[in-house]
């Protein structure tokens, strides 16, 4: 099948590649760019394991064609850590609050939470739960993911993180 040339900015670097028009963005990211942190869990836009940040929005890269991302700015999980390579507040929050188990949903979840905290820097528990409802987790029951995001919000805002009483 004839291939199309695409260019985009991924995690701050210009990238390019040849793709079929039907190539999914997630496959371009995983196969062409070898950024395998973005996962595939359902291929039907339900699970959110493939969530990336595309031009300031959380999108599920399993239902975007690579050609649709032409010229766009993309952040994947590999672009979330601090510039010095240390864990970002969110990554640290997930570890401190035990917000992950098998780790398969985690990249999508963190990338989504990253955008959520930009949209709403001080979300309530309800807003967090609603804000991550497009990302499924089979291991944690979400409770600790909510705490992880609260932890990160507090850290980013320079406020004190208080764990809600059980």
């Amino acid at each position: 099948m004839a291939k199309t040339h695409v260019t985009m900015r991924v995690n701050g670097s210009e990238v390019e590649g040849l793709v079929e028009p039907r190539t999914l963005l997630v496959h371009f990211i995983r196969e062409n760019l070898a950024l395998t942190g973005t996962h595939i869990g359902c291929e039907t836009t339900h699970c959110g394991a493939c969530t990336v940040d595309l031009d300031g929005m959380s999108v599920k890269s399993c239902t975007v064609f690579a050609v649709q991302a032409e010229g766009s700015e993309i952040t994947t999980i590999e672009g979330i850590a601090n510039a010095d390579g240390t864990l970002s507040a969110l990554q640290e929050g997930f570890r401190q609050m035990h917000g992950l188990q098998c780790g398969f949903c985690t990249p999508g979840m963190i990338v989504r939470a990253h955008r959520l905290l930009k949209e709403n820097p001080t979300p309530s528990e309800e807003e967090i739960r609603f804000g991550i409802a497009g990302n499924l987790c089979r291991c944690t029951g979400y409770q600790n993911i909510v705490k992880a995001i609260q932890y990160a919000a507090a850290k980013i805002n320079g406020t004190e993180f208080r764990e809600a009483a059980e």
Binding site: R95, F104, R129, C137, R138, C139, Q143
Partner: protein
């Protein structure tokens, strides 16, 4: 090491041993997208395989034409059953003693069954190839309802078994019958029912569902023709078993098979068995001489690889008027689908379902299970539970509520009256198990006190009165579950998989500088073994957990083990870790005695080293002992400090717990709200409380899903109608309730560290708590049992049937 400025508490803390909420070492890579899952592995020249699947649930295959597919750009090969017959792999053995088609041989027996395997240069080309394979089918009558599987005129599903009156587990009564399994004393139980003052009888169904880990099943097979070696990367919960099975069926010497299970994105039982994809990818690699990857998509995962449950349990309890149980009789109709591919220990066709007497002192019981074939996907895996234990717990916990209702007793009071008492442990159940330890009354009372059970019942009575007066349309239910699990398979005297005894293993190798590696027969899929296993070692031998690397999943380096499922890792491998550590420690003690110039018996263990009794300043730490062990061992002693342990447990372990669900249901819409969920778990000694709590949260969320809507459902024509995440209920953060966790600690008396295992308890105990809450809510309107799953629609239907709407 013996720095006296460091307090004992600081030395303990530095170890991050058992009981510590140690943060997980795995998270460093997972939070950065640096995990290494099967689909992340790429090999040079790698091809992709994908399946042509049957649209029919039951049909004869008239022809398969692969010519057009082979002309599709990028397609290199199309395999069918005929091709596999050449290498005697058209069929494969299942773990349950049955055989299963790898690719459809003459006919298909369930919708989405694997018919042909297309191998191509990339995923897209493989998909193009699938669309070009032409298969001609002749539809056959479809058998969906297991209750009609043994009708005289039921269609013959398994033509390969025609005339076979003996199956892997005894006589077959019908052409669609697989086995009958009976346990207990039938005469004594029948007598108990004849004498009973009160009896109940109910058909309690536990519907078909699916473990559905977020990462599907996948593998990458690479056959090296020159060396004759096969390397398989795969999502395997039990890598060594896969190696042995491949050796047995593919006739490749076992030392030439390398199985690697890298990071696994959840398993929940789905990744225990062997699937056609693994066989086809291996054969395709042998045929093409190139590595072949097979990655299931979600629809294939839900529709083809192992379902769970599908047990239909006719349950009877005999009791006195005062509510003392005197007998239990259960008959199970087990729908196994087209092939019996249950992932149970081989001698247990219904797993450990005979734990169905639960937490109660039944003087007698009898159980019979009939397994049948239907035109549904094969499987019967233990979805986050020990083998068929969640079915058993649901059965008895639902039945106890039904009995309480009939007696007009409070269900908590009925349970307290019938619990096995603390002094009865070790307790021999009527269906053959020896419960190791328990303190049920304490756990139950702690639960009742914490939630103010009496207050909740008063509130419920007020709400019911208000409902009757027409002042509210909301009803309130309290769902109690007091479950006993049986985990840690298992003792070789009664547990094996295809003849392989179900021990597990650990090898500890300490390095000269006082760090080390532990290699395991288990395989984490999210349980956090890299974190917790090191904690056991830290406490046992005083090396900080941070200095122990835990390695799993490589059959070339790991000692042989049976893997991770059925909550067996802590009961079996956890014990192996402690035993290996103690072997290391015994040698360390000899070294310390030599160095400190005392007899070994004059030494005592002190957190991270040995101290001479009565002479606190004479101390030798483990870090120093490691150096000495390699570089200056006592005369006559071999250098080195390492040990391996293969642990064959003397018994299972029996975790238990007391759960309560408080639920409100709107009768006009069927919409429910879980107002409160309290879960008390007793898993014996607690290794990492943070991880335990996380496991309980996750298991409860799965239980919530199963009880409230998650189902693999077939229509009357055998079509799967819940084959994607659109229809298969996986709760999001919005629906998922808030979880309250609590615990008691009753150590296992036979386990080296007293641990019992916890990962599956919340799934086992959670399902009955939710279902009992729904049933309790409706009970005052006259219902005794409403089948799961309790989604809004079914709740509304129940309300309607009871005249409430």
């Amino acid at each position: 090491m013996n720095d006296m400025t460091i307090t004992r508490a600081e030395r303990e803390a530095k170890l991050e041993g058992m009981g510590c909420k140690r943060k997980r070492v795995e998270d460093i890579r997972f939070t950065q997208g640096k995990g290494n899952y099967v689909d992340d592995v790429k090999l040079p020249g790698m091809l992709h395989g994908d399946f042509v699947r049957s649209p029919h649930p039951h049909a004869r295959i008239k022809s398969i034409d692969k010519e057009k597919a082979l002309k599709v750009p990028g397609v290199l090969a199309v395999l069918t059953a005929e091709d596999l017959k050449g290498v005697n792999l058209a069929w494969m053995p299942t773990l349950a003693g049955d055989v299963q088609m790898v690719l459809a041989d003459g006919k298909v027996l369930f919708q989405n069954q694997e018919v042909a395997f297309v191998v191509a240069t990339d995923r897209y080309a493989a998909d193009d190839g699938i669309n070009a394979v032409e298969v001609e089918y002749e539809a056959l009558p479809v058998l969906v309802d297991p209750f009609h599987a043994m009708d005289a005129d039921a269609p013959v599903l398994r033509e390969d078994l025609e005339g076979k009156t003996e199956g892997a587990h005894g006589p077959r009564k019908h052409h669609n019958h697989i086995f009958e399994w009976t346990v207990g004393d039938r005469d004594l139980t029948d007598a108990a029912f004849r004498k009973a003052e009160v009896t109940i009888k109910e058909m309690i169904s536990y519907h078909r569902t699916h473990p559905s880990p977020l990462e599907t099943c996948q593998c990458l097979c690479s056959f090296d023709k020159v060396k004759g070696e096969l390397t398989i990367y795969g999502t395997f919960q039990a890598p060594h078993v896969i190696r042995t099975v491949v050796a047995l069926i593919a006739k490749i010497p076992e030392h030439k098979i390398h199985v690697i299970a890298p990071d696994i994105g959840g398993g929940f039982g789905n990744k225990v068995g062997a699937y056609p994809g693994y066989i086809c990818a291996a054969v395709a690699s042998i045929v093409t001489g190139r590595p072949v990857k097979w990655v299931e998509d979600r629809i294939e995962n839900l529709c083809a690889t192992s379902f769970a449950r599908d047990y239909h349990m006719t349950t009877e309890i005999a009791a006195t008027k005062e509510g003392k149980v005197t007998g239990l009789r259960v008959h199970v109709l087990a729908d196994h689908g087209a092939f019996d591919a249950c992932a149970d220990p081989s001698k247990w066709p219904a797993g450990f379902f005979n734990i169905v007497t639960g937490s109660y002192d039944f003087p007698t019981a009898h159980l019979a299970v009939d397994g049948v074939y239907t035109n549904k996907a094969p499987g019967g895996v233990a979805y986050r539970c020990s083998f068929r234990v969640t079915e058993a717990a649901y059965c008895i916990e639902r039945a106890m509520d039904i009995l309480a209702q009939k007696l007009g007793m409070d269900p908590a009071e009925l349970r307290l009256k019938n619990f096995i008492r603390q002094e009865q442990f070790p307790y021999h159940s009527a269906l053959g198990w020896e419960y190791d330890s328990g303190d049920y009354h304490t756990a139950m009372k702690k639960m009742m006190d914490t939630v103010d059970y009496a207050g909740l019942r008063r509130e419920q009575a007020e709400k019911r009165a208000a409902f009757r007066r027409g002042e509210t349309r909301e009803i309130m239910g309290l769902g109690i579950s007091f479950f006993t699990e049986i985990v840690g398979a298992g003792p070789s005297k009664n547990c094996d998989i295809l003849g392989i005894a179900m021990f597990d293993s650990c090898e500890i190798r300490l390095h000269p500088t006082g760090a080390g590696i532990a290699r395991m027969g288990t395989k984490s899929q999210g349980q956090g073994h890299e974190t917790t296993w090191a904690q056991i070692i830290a406490t046992e031998i005083g090396i900080p957990a941070d200095d122990i690397m835990v390695e799993e999943g490589n059959t070339d380096t790991a000692p042989y083990g049976l893997g991770t499922y059925g909550s067996r890792s802590t009961p079996v491998a956890g014990a192996a870790i402690a035993m290996a550590a103690r072997k290391v420690k015994a040698k360390a003690q000899m070294i310390a005695a030599y160095r400190l110039e005392v007899h070994e018996d004059d030494l005592e263990w002190d957190i991270d080293g040995f101290r001479v009794k009565g002479l606190p300043e004479k101390f030798l730490g483990m870090k120093d002992i490691c150096w000495i062990a390699y570089n200056a061992p006592p005369p006559g002693m071999e250098p080195g400090l390492e040990a391996v342990s293969y642990y064959d447990p003397p018994n299972m372990t029996y975790p238990f717990g007391a759960y309560l669900c408080v639920m409100d249901i709107d009768v006009d819409t069927g919409v429910y709200k879980v107002r409160r969920f309290y879960a008390l778990d007793d898993c014996g000694t607690r290794i990492n409380p943070m991880i335990i709590e996380g496991q309980v949260h996750g298991g409860l969320t799965e239980a919530f899903a199963i009880a409230m809507g998650q189902e693999i459902r077939y229509d009357e024509n055998g079509n799967v109608v819940t084959g994607s995440f659109m229809d298969f209920f996986l709760p999001t953060a919005v629906e998922t309730p808030h979880w309250e966790t609590d615990f008691t600690v009753t150590p296992s008396p036979h386990h080296p560290i007293g641990a019992k295992g916890v990962g599956e308890s919340p799934n086992v105990g959670g399902v009955p708590a939710f279902s009992n809450a729904v049933n309790d809510a409706f009970s005052f309107l006259g219902s005794t049992h409403i089948q799961m799953p309790h989604d809004f629609w079914r709740n509304w239907q129940a309300a309607k049937a009871l005249g409430a709407v």
